[in-house]
């Protein structure tokens, strides 16, 4: 990569770390360190929530998914605006008004200490592990592209993030998120402009090509529980997933607890509701655009350069025959692509069908190449995550590759920082202060908070170094939380009904987790998006029955 691109990346890193160091002023008290003194404006909280949720996987994996699979993944987010509105009316006023540090702290006030500790522990376990995968996902791609050792890539993302999160607390994290969000959106828009300028055919013709291969099919109304991305799984499953994530995951809750007032906290969530679906559609459209670009310009057979080298070294004969087939399939496809725009209105549909067949032929050679790469290297290829990085490095004009790289770092760092900060808050408030040192002075808790942030950071980096061989980047991160998210949301919903009690909540929580665990192992065909619906239903049902039968005392 050209040195100017590296300079852009270096400047970005220096600005983020420097800004974090500047914001250490507010970190003299616990409320300052963990909640930015509850004085962040709604728009900063809103951008921070969005930046946290937009990880490097979104920029690398989701764009790649757009290129290979098209737009239907956007259905996953259909429930998000609904969830944000519901949370704004229900949970946010409860949590913000309770003046708590963690969402789980509220559960002790309403129920008892064991419900609080169990939910907080579940958060620490699942988020501690997933923080590792959030670093690992882009680190693996960086290492393969630049030929670095994985440890260096993990350090490039981990060390600056740990530094500004430890020193600046949530205030540094939130303001860094605001800048990071700007870099991310700028990089995405820059790619869109470059793509549109460089299409050899008019945009309308190009979109017809994408449509012919099914990539512009957004809505799938089939009601099939085994399909992950359908309209219904997005609206129902997605709503419950987002309710659980934004309502009970400390990494999100902590953002809006830092807002000035309940109204500002709600408005910050609505900002995500505004922009998430359009932004996600843009991310996927970038992927579709890259697919269209490569319909006219020869694309690499294997996008992952490390795998491409390994195959060239160890199976040169097989590679040569695949390359020959691939070359022929590519030129047939690009001829078919050009033919569609010169065809008259009557021949247009035949020409598009021919293009779709040629595209399928290209895909079939790539499938064989991926199988060969998997056999030679012994690891699953995950080639989809390399499509966009390769396009950026090979095709973008000077400087823009640096901006995109900075954007990937920004996306990774904003997600990691929020996780570290919230993991530290839950560790200190829900465990250290609650169980070991209830009378600890503020200075001690603050020191514990900084130490916990650093330790979780190191833990995440270690996990990242070993998590490299984990499966699909997107689904792993989503799946991890999904097992327990719904059950935890169920407990919060029980908390809002006055007639439930501590025994009901705890028994309900256990029942919900067992039910979701049983479904995920016993009925693997059911898509993970439905786990949260099941979890919420079981926890609320069992919790309500046990509370009513037990006849416990009503809520204070």
């Amino acid at each position: 990569m050209h040195w100017i691109n590296w300079v852009i990346v270096a400047v970005y890193l220096l600005v983020v770390i420097g800004d974090g160091l500047r914001r250490t002023r507010g970190t003299k008290t616990m409320e300052g360190y963990f909640l930015a003194g509850r004085r962040l404006p709604w728009w900063a909280v809103g951008l921070s929530v969005m930046a946290t949720q937009l990880s490097a996987v979104t920029l690398i994996g989701t764009t790649g998914q757009g290129a290979t699979d098209g737009l239907r993944f956007v259905q996953f987010y259909f429930g998000l605006p609904i969830a944000m509105v519901v949370l704004g009316v229900t949970l946010v006023p409860f949590l913000h008004g309770a003046k708590v540090y963690t969402a789980y702290e509220y559960l002790e006030r309403r129920f008892d200490a064991k419900t609080r500790s169990l939910t907080s522990l579940l958060f620490l376990l699942s988020r501690g592990m997933s923080c590792g995968t959030i670093i690992a996902a882009p680190a693996v791609v960086f290492s393969a592209i630049f030929g670095w050792d994985l440890l260096w890539s993990v350090a490039l993302m981990g060390i600056p993030t740990i530094l500004y999160t430890v020193l600046g607390g949530v205030e540094a994290v939130a303001w860094a998120d605001v800048k990071q969000m700007v870099v991310i959106v700028a990089a995405l828009l820059a790619i869109v402009v470059v793509l549109i300028v460089r299409f050899p055919v008019p945009l309308d013709d190009a979109l017809h090509l994408a449509g012919a291969t099914g990539r512009l099919r957004v809505f799938d109304f089939s009601f099939d529980l085994s399909k992950t991305y359908t309209f219904w799984s997005g609206i129902l499953g997605g709503t419950f997933l987002m309710l659980s994530y934004f309502g009970t995951d400390q990494s999100q809750v902590q953002r809006y607890l830092a807002a000035r007032s309940v109204d500002e906290a709600r408005s910050s969530l609505l900002m995500s509701a505004y922009w998430k679906i359009p932004l996600q559609a843009l991310v996927l459209l970038v992927g579709v655009g890259v697919f269209l670009f490569y319909a006219f310009v020869p694309a690499p057979l294997l996008y992952n350069p490390t795998h491409a080298r390994a195959v060239a070294d160890r199976a040169p004969g097989e590679l040569a025959s695949l390359e020959a087939r691939y070359g022929a399939a590519l030129s047939a496809r690009s001829a078919a692509a050009s033919a569609t725009s010169t065809a008259g209105a009557e021949q247009r549909s035949t020409a598009l069908q021919l293009f779709a067949r040629r595209d399928a032929a290209v895909d079939s050679v790539r499938t064989d190449a991926l199988a060969l790469a998997a056999r030679v290297t012994g690891e699953s290829s995950r080639d989809v995550n390399y499509i966009i990085p390769r396009f950026v490095l090979d095709q973008l004009p000077l400087g823009l590759a640096g901006v995109f790289l900075a954007a990937v770092l920004a996306a990774a760092m904003s997600s990691i920082a929020a996780e570290l900060n919230s993991l530290s808050t839950a560790t200190v408030v829900d465990f250290y202060q609650r169980w070991w040192r209830p009378a600890a002075p503020e200075a001690e808790l603050l020191r514990a908070g900084k130490l916990a942030t650093a330790l979780w950071g190191v833990f995440a980096c270690v996990v990242a170094t070993y998590a490299a061989t984990l499966g699909s980047l997107i689904e792993v991160v989503n799946r991890f939380g999904s097992i327990f998210y719904g059950s935890i949301l169920g407990v919060f919903l029980l908390a809002m009904w006055r007639r439930t009690n501590a025994v009901g909540a705890f028994v309900g929580l256990i029942a919900g987790m067992v039910a979701v665990g049983a479904v995920s192992f016993g009925l693997p065909s059911i898509s993970f998006l439905w786990y949260n619906v099941i979890g919420v239903a079981v926890v609320c049902g069992v919790g309500a029955i046990v509370s009513l039968v037990g006849g416990g005392r009503p809520a204070r």
Binding site: L216, L270, A281
Partner: protein, 32 residues
């Protein structure tokens, strides 16, 4: 319900409807 939230709510719904409509039009025009 406080003011800013309620004001924003309608705009949020409008943006979602417009986005979904745009995606629907994209699909019906190009997906064959």
């Amino acid at each position: 319900m406080p003011s800013r939230f309620r004001q924003t709510l309608w705009r949020v719904m409008l943006v979602q409807v417009v986005t979904l409509l745009a995606l629907w039009m994209l699909q019906s025009r190009y997906a064959t």
